[in-house]
């Protein structure tokens, strides 16, 4: 039996049908990725957030024209890229000549460039979050660790994980949730700081 899932495509369809909350979910899902993309072009953190916000608003307005020929993020990526470049042009700064493909973006190590613009505190906080997440995963019981690793790092669907772990899909879903919940508990002290302070 085919399960109908609430994927990005479904969320987009909901937005098109008038559900703004579905767009908020997409913003929450992709805000970090988009801001990271924008900071490759716009190094000032405040400006980068403004540009990312503008890109999301543009995406919302243009969504009726999105035909779903690419993934939502690939489409959003192009909007973010163009918004960042236009921002540089409006400030009479020259945008870079070459673009990074949406699929390759995560592979590019541009830390050396960012280090010139980011505060040491913000960088330390980001690294601390990444370290805490990895440590929390290491401390998980094996079944939870396997489930979250197969999902997050291997990119398998719940159905594929269920086959790999020889268990029902419902169990996979529950294990991934419990893994996330445990990691989130470890992150809570850092997260509350990041919500109120600068940077993360």
């Amino acid at each position: 039996m085919t399960r109908r899932l609430c994927t990005d495509r479904e969320l987009v369809a909901r937005v098109k049908a008038g559900d703004k909350q579905a767009f908020n979910v997409l913003v929450q899902k992709y805000q970090h990725k988009l801001v990271k993309l924008v900071t490759r072009y716009v190094h000032d953190q405040t400006e980068a957030l403004d540009v990312a916000q503008e890109a999301f608003i543009k995406a919302y307005r243009a969504l009726p024209q999105f035909r779903g020929e690419s993934s939502f993020y690939t489409w959003l990526y192009r909007i973010g890229l163009n918004t960042a470049k236009n921002h540089l042009v409006s400030l009479s700064r020259r945008p870079p000549d070459t673009d990074i493909d949406a699929q390759d973006a995560s592979r590019y190590d541009i830390e050396s460039r960012l280090k010139n613009h980011d505060t040491p505190e913000a960088l330390a906080q980001r690294d601390e979050i990444e370290r805490t997440v990895l440590m929390a995963i290491d401390e998980l019981p094996e079944d939870l660790r396997t489930a979250i690793t197969l999902r997050e790092l291997e990119g398998l669907s719940y159905e594929e994980i269920a086959q790999a772990m020889s268990c029902p899909i419902g169990t996979v879903r529950s294990r991934i949730f419990r893994a996330r919940d445990a990691i989130a508990k470890r992150l809570r002290p850092l997260y509350s700081v990041s919500l109120t302070g600068d940077g993360l």
Binding site: R4, K29, S157
Partner: protein, 208 residues
């Protein structure tokens, strides 16, 4: 109950939430700050694992976008009811087209002064005198110099078309008259919704 919702949030991050659960969860996400925060935290974990975190990401970006979107019309509403500007666009465009057509007619209509062969001697010609108009007309070469010195009157378009009308074959006159009557009747019923009811365009070529 709360764990059930949190599990659904986790599935939503992965795009694995069932469609039948989505509507309720999205509604609750819109109302509960706690759920929203938890969802952001789950997304943060995912981004941290993929090294997608940026130092510039403040916790309020999603909230800022959501606040801005509050003033935006939702898409379905936009599709059901076109914007006010669009509603007005059609009649305004139609009117503009009609005015342009009328202006073009007024400015581009050929002026009789361009036809020297129809220049005739002094004295205006009343509309009812077309019957004798033929005899008044002479080629310009036939007008002598003294006559040319006197003020001249140019035959208007109406007089000229009356003359052309008289020259028509009686059967053709009847056909054209019938056509004009039918055209007026049809225009009067309002069945033609364009500027065409107000235009009279009749073509005639001798021999057709």
């Amino acid at each position: 109950m709360r764990d059930g919702l949190n599990e659904q949030l986790s599935a939503l991050v992965d795009g694995e939430l069932r469609e039948d659960e989505a509507a309720l969860l999205l509604r609750q996400l819109g109302r509960s700050e706690e759920l929203k925060e938890r969802f952001e935290r789950y997304c943060l974990i995912s981004d941290a694992l993929h090294r997608n975190l940026s130092v510039a990401t403040g916790g309020d970006l999603a909230a800022r976008v959501a606040r801005t979107l509050e003033d935006e019309p939702s898409h379905a509403v936009g599709q059901q009811r076109p914007a006010r500007g669009r509603v007005l666009l059609r009649p305004v465009a139609g009117m503009a087209l009609a005015i342009t057509g009328a202006l073009a007619m007024v400015t581009l209509w050929p002026q009789p002064v361009q036809e020297p062969a129809l220049v005739q001697g002094a004295g205006p010609i009343a509309a009812g005198q077309e019957a004798s108009l033929q005899s008044h007309l002479r080629p310009i070469e036939a007008i002598d110099a003294s006559e040319r010195a006197t003020p001249r009157v140019v035959v208007g378009a109406a007089a000229r078309s009356q003359l052309q009308w008289k020259r028509l074959d009686p059967q053709l006159q009847r056909q054209l008259t019938d056509y004009l009557i039918k055209h007026s009747e049809r225009s009067a019923t309002g069945q033609m919704d364009t500027a065409l009811p107000y235009m009279r365009i009749i073509g005639y070529e001798a021999g057709e």
